[in-house]
Symmetry: C2
Subunit: 803 residues, 2 copies
């Protein structure tokens, strides 16, 4: 079956079609309640007895009938219009709906053969829900057709827009709960409609579902005047269609007809806009339709329980009837409630759905639960990646560090190639940072920033066809990229290191999604989420303390080691090598930390590749050990600024204490520091000991908080001899070198630490004093002149500290 | 001078008054540019020479003239109306403006006597800006009149609304940058106007400042049609007034008159609403006015530099003229630019501002830079706190754990007293969790939820006078509370542990604010930010993996140990004791983790107080050591569920291995684990060793990620013998006991670990095997029945594991 999409349809919907929708709705509602309550007796073949009821009643009914209602209606228009459609379920805990609809469509059984469309399968479907060893209560990776977990709220609309990018025939129907609509990320996402390209991207149909209540409170958007609500939607750039269904006393058939009319209306308006966009007659940004659906919370559940109103109130949020196993009256009420859907009309004697339920639904890949778009790994194709060597920075092994270069500028040149070579499957996103991060100008020679709002003659690099997306909301950037990746494409999010914390929670949720998805056999792996932190803690000297925070790494490292990778390349060539690796990987979250400022280059491309492949290694050229002289001390570093300072310290020591046998180590991949049973990249203890020794002092210059390195290495043999220098939460507006001095990460402090830890403090008191004075001099110069002392700022390998 | 507030004023503003505003504006602009560029020669007494120019040009001009413009105009209406006003500067990097205005008002010199209002003071004012040892480039704690740092963007409007709570005569003028307006937290904050009480709270005047550009991009809200923009503001519930100033060729006097008219209009509308609210004639929620101000970015800077347009474009975002020290032409342009403000008219021969500048500005506490509201510690009064003992749970030392109780329910009873006893200075905030967290019903006997949107007869506990604020945006909750605290009041934010990550970044920024503020001599300490995480990782079994994340603690612990406290009370009385302590404290961020479910109670109130005061201690009744039997092993715990499991493990061992001398330790305050030189609460090594021993195995059951305990203790003597069990990022929808089993935190695994670590695995192989089988049995029961095995679920201290 081929979907052509964006067709107009006959209107109004026939009575027969709406009867099918109603049957779908009743069947899905029945199956949703069954999941929440029933262990057995799924078709009520016998009177409902205590042993048929779950001992713990877990799940959420309140949002479910509205979701089933929308799903059934979408089925009709998808079938009639042959419209490829992705369904995004924003409301929390709508899991029973997603599972019920997938089972009705047959997808559930295709994915989980044990859960047949039969009475036995239905019993298993019911039992597994919110049950130990079973499935969770949200739309989750286990739910066919889902890419958006209704656990933490706020990301549905961003996921929807991300999914629609570069898929011009795709409709993304996004149900937004009125609880979720109060969150910041959701509120920011409405404006994504100013970015998308009506011709080359798909269409998002937001369905703002006002059932009026959260857990215990009314929702804000349900309690403002209609005029204000419509103004808000128009202010978001939409052409809203408001439709209210399920008012007390209204026949369901009337509700169906009203919503069908609204949905047809929305799809016809979309079809008209799409046609104009394709013909090239569309001028400016269209006002896309959206639906505001008002329906009762918990619609069709018992109106009252124990004398209190339930349907249409917050009391239907979770389990409308409690103590059903113990309370005969409640159990009877549940039985009546289930019978109210007339299950005999919906399921045949074997338990399979009858044709009245299924005949109006789409088939094959048009089923929303079966769309390959929601199992993006099926659609993912490897990127065409240019040879990074073409953009490598030349490094003369005889004069390392002599050339200064911006690592991200080199990356930008390579990314420009990636953009050119993958014109429909790769995106860069960021909060107005692409230029600041020096990926520009190169990337803007390959593409523009996507923008479909008003433009002025003075604007640069803005176009509806642009492949860089910039908006000052880290939430929206991350959400768009997640949607894009989960539907089979590739991308890179670049942002400030400190402000990456804004998406901590999204990172955690995505990590959990990937971790869970990796255990779902029919989910194919999607491209990794790549996050580049290039405006990092050590070079926020001009922005000050509020911009100085390397803790995003720690948030990432708390997630599953199967999923998370943190890499700290330390020059252009190591950045190119790691970025190439990250863009090839699947199933991971790759956090790449690399500065943007011109800085010395250390490794040739070949060396960089070998080093990054190992993930860590000895920089032999920087150390002073020889075969004859066993190592006295190790100076290790992870991160560009720490490595620069460590190398400068190594040089200071080489000149002043030539008899010290010093080994210099660089770590790119933090996972290597962990033990092999803790992280898939973890170094076996013997290899770790070969590099770091078992008993020599190790002074470690680290990019972030020092305890992060201890947390990774506390079981290593030499841990008691490991001394980490890193960010101590001391920051301000000052110079780059003052920043490292404030935190004890500067070359002088590192060199002194090596002397002290190696037991040379007394024997080399003069050298030590000289280093202390050099540090004092650097400090004084900074305070006096507002810039770093030239001997520090201009230092390169091979040149003495005195310039 | 007494402010009466909400007065109407004569209109229009006189020409003389607007000349004063213009003089203010020019003077503030001059001083702002001086801060960015000048080391010396502040009044241009001699031709500008290279040595007068800073070597590093840091700072942001783009937003500054607009801020100075608004500030000058606000000064006029404040003086005319005697209106107490707090200024919130949302746009990033508006620091030069805040500093310039405070200096003009005299406040800067009052706070920093070294920076006189003289030529010498002006030179120092200029030099210190964005200079090592000086002040940052945003409005920061160092800036008089500021409570909102323009570093990370998004929180200005939430801070504004939080400041306005319970201060009915206060106007909060909140400038929102159009970059900031794209963020999620800001977008969510618009709806706070549905919560505030027009009679009892102050008024927020949002000023959406569209200067059209971010760093390198246009802003979305500047590029939508005016009709759409006004619809958006009306949709947010506002009555917008749009005013455009500074169009090319327009006289400044015309711009001033137009903005003055708009501002008077807004304040008159506010005065009318306030009058009606006070008279009691206001019906429903008013549509508060707000201003949309369009002005050129970088207004009044050179129109072109090197042939490229600068004024009115993104190129004026930071430093419009680069290389001024080196480039004679640029330096000449800077000199012309500075002269364009006619400094001789503005500053007298001593360098002090002339009366044309200052005569129109308010005096005393009405100066926005001097308002005590922005130095909330001045206004803070200790809370009246009821005796926690009145709400203590009875614990019989002979039958500990026999009574089950919800810790948060006990807290709720006490908080109800706090609400009653502090009717204007204490608030509880949360994302629809107060009832779910069992603080209700008690707190709703004392107050309601504040709500000023529509209501229905079915609603419960909603009222404009309510003192609990619930909105499904953690950002908004946290931002409101920060605003409330920074202006001198007290509060508690309760939220899901997993979703606290949503405000990670806000937590970090607030911690940085408190840390910096503690070094500003004239800032008085504000009440601590108290965050209660009561729906925590171990009891999200019904919500599943997406709700299971204890990592907020780690984010908090990365911030300054001077600021952050993390406490894990483990029953009702320890929670009451810690909460009482937290509500008395100032200058901290207190993260309190405590479950809401009924669970065993362990300590009497007197014991709880003594234990919490120590922060950790031996639970002697739970151990088996005696004076004659030295300790064989230590079983430690932090957190309610871990302590419960550790106590159950201790009981299992006591019954089965009576010869084992086991010490049981509980840690409430994580800071105690750190060394005394790392944390103000850190235990001296000798005391730590007395509790944990230097060489005995320690099995530690911890609430969060195991490595967190290692990160705190890695330098302690016994660290190699420390074995931590905690959350291993393994979760799903299951039962409570299955959750601890999945992560090896269950009583059986802990007891086995003690046996193994104490070297008893072989000698007590039978006991070990029995424990393994008990665990297997518990697992199987869970999978079979969907509930926990009764011997686990019903276990209490003193009863054998077999029930």
């Amino acid at each position: 079956m081929t979907a052509t999409g964006w067709q107009r349809a006959e209107r109004p919907a026939t009575e027969a079609a709406l009867e099918q929708v109603d049957a779908w709705w009743r069947a899905a509602n029945y199956l949703s309640i069954g999941q929440i309550y029933l262990l057995d007796n799924p078709l009520l073949r016998e009177p409902l007895a205590p042993e048929h009821i779950k001992r713990r009643l877990l799940g959420h009914w309140g949002t479910t009938p509205g979701l089933n209602f929308v799903y059934g209606h979408l089925n009709r228009v998808i079938r009639e219009r042959q419209q490829r459609t992705l369904f995004i379920m924003g409301p929390g805990h709508g899991g029973p709906s997603g599972v019920a609809c997938a089972w009705l469509e047959g997808t559930y059984t295709e994915r989980f053969p044990d859960i047949e469309r039969s009475e036995r399968g239905m019993q298993r479907l019911f039992r597994q829900f919110s049950f130990p060893g079973g499935i969770p209560s949200h739309a989750a990776p286990e739910t066919p057709g889902s890419i958006n977990e209704g656990g933490e709220l706020g990301y549905s609309l961003a996921h929807a827009y991300g999914s629609a990018l570069d898929d011009p025939d795709l409709l993304v129907a996004c149900v937004i709960g009125d609880g979720e609509a109060e969150t910041g990320p959701l509120a920011a996402s409405w404006h994504a409609n100013k970015l998308l390209n009506p011709a080359a991207d798909g269409v998002v149909l937001p369905i703002l579902h006002l059932n009026g209540w959260k857990i215990a409170n009314p929702t804000l958007l349900a309690r403002i005047p209609e005029e204000e609500l419509l103004a808000l939607m128009r202010g978001y750039g939409h052409d809203p269609i408001l439709v209210t269904v399920g008012e007390r006393g209204e026949e369901h058939a009337v509700s169906h007809a009203r919503f069908a009319e609204a949905l047809d209306d929305a799809l016809d308006r979309i079809a008209a806009i799409k046609a104009a966009a394709v013909e090239g007659t569309l001028r400016g940004r269209p006002a896309w339709p959206m639906l505001v659906l008002r329906s009762p919370k918990g619609w069709t559940c018992p109106a009252e329980v124990d004398g209190l109103p339930v349907e249409g109130t917050w009391r239907s949020h979770q389990v409308p009837l409690e103590r059903v196993r113990e309370d005969d009256a409640h159990r009877e009420l549940l039985e009546q409630w289930l019978h109210s859907y007339r299950p005999d009309e919906l399921f045949d004697e074997t338990g399979a759905p009858r044709s009245i339920v299924t005949a109006g639904a789409p088939e094959g890949d048009l089923r929303m639960s079966a769309t390959p778009v929601a199992n993006g790994g099926l659609l993912r194709r490897d990127l065409a990646l240019a040879d990074t060597a073409a953009h490598a920075r030349a490094v003369d092994p005889q004069a390392r560090g002599a050339e200064q270069s911006s690592a991200t500028a080199a990356l930008g040149e390579w990314l420009a190639d990636v953009l050119r070579d993958n014109p429909h499957t790769f995106r860069i996103l960021g909060p107005d940072e692409t230029a600041s991060n020096r990926l520009a100008p190169a990337v803007y020679e390959a593409t523009a920033k996507q923008w479909n709002a008003e433009t002025l003659p003075i604007d640069e690099h803005l176009a509806p066809t642009g492949r860089v997306l910039e908006v000052l909301s880290e939430h929206l950037c991350q959400g768009l990229l997640e949607g894009y990746l989960l539907t089979g494409r590739h991308g890179l999010f670049t942002t400030y290191e400190a402000f990456a914390h804004i998406v901590d929670s999204m990172l955690g949720q995505h990590a959990k999604w990937l971790e869970s998805a990796s255990h779902v056999p029919w989910r194919e792996p999607v491209a990794s989420l790549n996050i580049l932190l290039s405006s990092h803690v050590w070079r926020q000297d001009h922005n000050g303390f509020s911009h100085q925070d390397p803790g995003f790494i720690d948030v990432a490292l708390n997630k599953s080691p199967e999923i998370v990778r943190v890499v700290l390349p330390f020059d252009a060539n190591t950045l190119l090598s790691t970025a190439d690796h990250c863009l090839r990987s699947v199933g991971h979250i790759n956090v790449i930390v690399a500065g943007k400022h011109p800085s010395p280059q250390w490794l040739t491309m070949a060396e960089a590749q070998a080093h990054c492949e190992r993930g860590l290694g000895v920089l032999e050229w920087a150390g002073t050990e020889t075969e004859e002289r066993p190592v006295d001390a190790v100076l290790a570093a992870a991160g560009d600024v720490p490595t620069h300072e460590a190398l400068a310290a190594a040089w200071l020591l080489r000149e002043r204490v030539p008899e010290l046998s010093l080994r210099v180590v660089n770590v790119v991949d933090l996972g290597r520091l962990q033990q092999a049973d803790q992280h898939p990249h973890g170094l076996p203890d013997a290899e770790y000991d070969r590099i770091f020794t078992r008993d020599k002092p190790v002074v470690f210059a680290y990019h972030g908080y020092p305890w992060t390195i201890h947390r990774l290495t506390y079981r290593r043999a030499g841990h008691d001899q490991l001394h980490v220098h890193g960010f101590l939460e001391r920051g301000t507006t000052t110079t780059p070198f003052d920043m490292v001095m404030m935190n004890g990460l500067d070359r002088y402090t590192l060199a002194i630490a090596v002397l002290d830890r190696a037991g040379l403090a007394e024997s080399h008191a003069g050298v030590r004093q000289e280093l202390v004075e050099a540090r004092d001099r650097a400090k004084a110069h900074t305070r006096e002149h507002g810039i770093d002392i030239p001997e520090v700022a201009d230092w390169v390998w091979g040149r003495g500290a005195d310039g």
